[in-house]
């Protein structure tokens, strides 16, 4: 790991101001869109550059609800696909949303919460229930964390996933209680085994009946409990409130948000994370102000953050499509994402995706290249609704060398190094008789490069 100089927390979280050495340009705007969303084409980048970075962040935050038109279309698509009952089809409906939503930050954050409150369709087996959870996450994504945690504690899909569909006072099921502290709010080491046992008692009587949450008061343990230093005859809601109210919670959540939005391997010391954590506390545990702070910060636009993330499979594929204004077969993408480790509605376990270097192994490296091969040889894959050749021609691009430039501008967090570029040109640069096929081969090669995996 590279030696990082210690980051000054005050500087880190102050708002970024463009300067001559770091001008607000297409490249910085592309960084913002890759992180706060899934990417932007040249038109969106140019619109962003015409504004200030703060205005763009404000706008991304303000789109905390989908426009009703888009929502109507995306929801009805999901409902149609849901009718088949296959969660993989639901996964394709989400791909559609990721690809077309105007509310990119909302969707990116919804995906964050799906990895955080991870729930797998392979165990829940009910796609309608998974869909309801997805809507729940979207509804609260940029809102109040307390409300989100309370809602997820009663979410049928979550409780089925954690085997808590009938929690009786005689032998409380500890699974949800443990994960609420370990994975959802506080982190391992910030509670004791006794806290797990006592917290589990609070949730007794909570059940899922006919796919809905309900309380069975005959099964609730009404005795006094002792959780995290507090004593009382707490029920489940009070238990969530106590856990969420801990001082450790905002630091835990902000660390995870910073890894997701800023950098995979930044050393997030207590000093550094305290400012976002304080922001979260001061704003009554609202998420939007924390994201606004992070996405407008010096740290976010600095070398500590730029190209310091490995793209998740969703960022990889949706990023390529959004960057070139591409569209494709959502089912193909949904299956492909699962093959390379990020099946939507299929997180690997309750801890969700670890991200960072964990995305990469020999299989996924080959799988990422193969997925692009598949997408780019599919007839449904179009750019600006047309062929790649026509789309490039609209940008006045007629040869391989300029196409490489264009791909680099729209898609890459780091430039392609000169030696690789020469080799690309030699091996994939000849457009020959079938330019469409050859532009696609070239794009496939660019997307397979190690550099392309960086966000």
């Amino acid at each position: 790991m590279a030696v990082e100089t210690k980051i000054d927390p005050i500087w880190a979280w102050q708002p970024f101001t463009p300067s001559d050495s770091q001008p607000w340009d297409r490249s910085l705007a592309a960084h913002l869109y890759r992180r706060a969303g899934f990417g932007a084409d040249l038109q969106l980048l140019d619109e962003a550059v015409a504004q200030s970075p703060h205005d763009v962040v404000d706008e991304l935050i303000a789109l905390n609800l989908e426009t009703s038109d888009f929502r109507a279309v995306a929801d009805s698509l999901a409902q149609t696909l849901l009718a088949g009952g296959d969660p993989m089809k639901l996964s394709a409906a989400w791909v559609y949303r990721l690809l077309f939503t105007p509310a990119q930050l909302l969707e990116k954050t919804t995906l964050f919460w799906h990895g955080h409150f991870a729930t797998g369709a392979d165990k829940v087996k009910d796609s309608a229930m998974m869909w309801r959870q997805n809507q729940l996450l979207r509804r609260h994504a940029l809102g109040d964390f307390q409300a989100l945690a309370q809602a997820i504690a009663k979410d049928p899909a979550m409780l089925i996933y954690l085997d808590s569909t009938s929690n009786r006072k005689s032998h409380p099921n500890e699974n949800f209680a443990r994960e609420l502290m370990e994975l959802f709010c506080l982190g391992e080491g910030h509670y004791s085994e006794t806290d797990v046992v006592e917290l589990a008692r609070c949730f007794t009587g909570w059940e899922i009946r006919r796919d809905r949450f309900r309380k069975n008061r005959y099964q609730h343990d009404e005795g006094e409990k002792s959780i995290l230093g507090k004593r009382g005859a707490f029920d489940g809601e009070q238990a969530v409130e106590i856990v969420v109210g801990r001082d450790d919670m905002p630091r835990f959540i902000c660390r995870k948000l910073a890894r997701y939005f800023i950098a995979d391997e930044l050393e997030l010391t207590d000093d550094l994370i305290e400012i976002p954590a304080a922001t979260m506390r001061e704003n009554n545990l609202q998420i939007a102000p924390v994201l606004k702070l992070m996405l407008s910060s010096n740290l976010f636009f600095s070398a500590h953050a730029r190209a310091r993330k490995i793209k998740s499979p969703v960022e990889l594929v949706i990023g390529m499509l959004r960057g070139l204004n591409g569209t494709t077969n959502s089912q193909l993408v949904a299956r492909g994402l699962r093959d390379i480790g990020q099946g939507l509605f299929y997180p690997p376990n309750v801890k969700g995706w670890d991200g960072g270097r964990a995305w990469i192994n020999s299989s996924t490296v080959l799988g990422r290249a193969n997925l692009f091969e598949k997408l780019l040889s599919d007839e449904d894959t179009k750019f600006d609704g047309r062929s790649l050749t026509q789309s490039l021609a609209d940008h006045d691009i007629h040869d391989a060398d300029h196409a490489i430039d264009h791909f680099e501008h729209c898609l890459m967090a780091v430039p392609i190094n000169p030696a690789t570029r020469r080799q690309l040109n030699v091996q994939f640069g000849s457009l020959g008789k079938d330019p469409e096929k050859n532009y696609r081969r070239l794009l496939h090669a660019v997307c397979s490069l190690p550099e392309f995996q960086l966000a």
């Binding site: 808590s164 995979d264 070398a303 990469i360 020999s362 994939f428 397979s448």
Partner: protein
């Protein structure tokens, strides 16, 4: 193609198996046997690790069927005495473990009882990290125990990777190393570049890495470059090695069995890879444990038994050891959902040809619990130490970051 060592071992094995044909008689003369034994040097031995993820219920795996306390603690989950596959008067296997029981009777299983560690952690993720790294959270964790062991092996001929992970899951931290990149193979068919352009793409991606350290992206880019090159070369070698494999052994239909069959393929193709790592998920049985656990145990048992039969048929029995573990056992008392919550100690299994077969250590007591959990009597690192020293022939202390006594697991140790 094959090293001299491998050829010698193959030749000796073949002549042993065909003893009658070359007129020596039904048993080999002792000079041949010694030669055959020494031909299986440390560097020839293979470790296959099977991780049972989610916390296997050890108490319903190796069952204290004669203990009334067992039945008392498990009103619905206790396995009826008549169904237990008795090992001795006190203990027996779950009825799903027919394959493992047969292997035991054949002298190919060592069961280490009551394995765990001090101050057990009941988080799946933290406990797994402890098993993988061998150290607690307050110490620095940059690599795993197998990753550190790989760094001590001398590089084998043929350019094969020293270890291979097979599975859909994220690569286990046990394989992490500062210098060695272990490939993950999900499925053999998908483990190669597809498309008409694949030779050109392979040339492009396999080119010399660019100096990454001074670029944006820094060491992450370096990591991506070496991962890409490693993937390309592993893909070519593994694909070539697996071609043309034949076996008469029928493997059961399960993912684990498919993966073990691939391991058998690669071993038979004389890959010099020393460690294979596989995972079987689903042991987090908080509710309705009975059927799920029975299915999972059967998958594990049948797959391992088929694999070892295959290894025997191909003459590799004495080179292969399958080590199975889980991050913790489960609570002794069942919960109200006919499941069990996270517990502590559990058994570990070693299967293969070179073992001191049978039960090793003492069974945990049901009348002496710790927070409702079984107490451990063997530190898991002692099992690792035995495997490292007596099987893989490497220094355990450096790998384990401390000294742990070895156990009499291996014959001749």
């Amino acid at each position: 193609m094959f090293s001299e060592r491998t050829n010698r071992r193959r030749f000796l094995y073949t002549s042993g198996g065909g003893g009658l044909a070359i007129g020596i008689g039904s048993s080999l003369p002792s000079c041949f046997l010694h030669a055959a034994e020494s031909a299986t040097g440390d560097e020839d031995r293979i470790l296959v690790v099977v991780q049972l993820s989610g916390g296997n219920d050890g108490l319903n795996t190796v069952i204290p069927y004669a203990d009334d306390a067992y039945r008392a603690a498990r009103a619905t989950l206790a396995v009826p005495r008549s169904e237990v596959l008795a090992i001795d008067d006190d203990l027996g296997f779950h009825p799903s473990l027919r394959g493992i029981k047969d292997l035991l009777d054949d002298g190919q299983v060592a069961v280490v009882q009551g394995v765990g560690y001090e101050n057990p952690n009941r988080s799946h993720f933290e406990s797994m990290d402890i098993w993988h790294s061998c150290v607690r959270k307050d110490q620095s964790r940059t690599d795993g125990w197998i990753g550190r062991a790989l760094e001590q092996f001398t590089a084998a001929d043929g350019g094969d990777v020293p270890a291979l992970h097979l599975g859909e899951q994220q690569q286990p931290f046990a394989l992490a190393s500062e210098t060695i990149r272990v490939p993950t193979v999900k499925q053999l068919e998908a483990f190669q570049l597809r498309g008409a352009d694949s030779p050109a793409l392979r040339r492009l991606l396999n080119g010399p890495p660019t100096p990454a350290a001074d670029q944006a992206g820094g060491d992450l880019l370096g990591f991506l470059q070496s991962s890409t090159q490693g993937a390309i070369s592993a893909s070519q070698r593994v694909t070539a090695a697996a071609e043309g494999y034949q076996t008469d052994i029928k493997y059961p239909q399960s993912r684990l069995a498919d993966q073990l069959r691939l391991v058998a393929q690669l071993i038979s193709a004389e890959m010099t890879t020393r460690v294979y790592y596989l995972q079987l998920d689903g042991f987090d049985t908080h509710a309705q444990q009975g059927d799920t656990h029975a299915i999972l145990l059967r998958q594990w048992s049948d797959a391992v038994a088929a694999f070892l039969r295959d290894m025997k048929a191909h003459g590799h029995t004495d080179r292969v050891c399958v080590m199975t573990f889980s991050e913790f056992g489960r609570r002794v008392a069942e919960n109200a959902s006919a499941g069990t919550d996270h517990g502590a100690a559990g058994p570990m299994f070693l299967c293969g040809g070179g073992l001191n077969a049978g039960l090793i250590g003492t069974a945990p007591r049901l009348d002496d619990l710790q927070q409702g959990d079984l107490k451990h009597s063997v530190d898991f690192r002692s099992v690792y130490a035995s495997v490292l020293k007596d099987w893989l022939g490497t220094d355990p202390d450096r790998v384990l970051r401390g000294h742990y006594e070895t156990l009499p697991l291996f014959a001749g140790a």
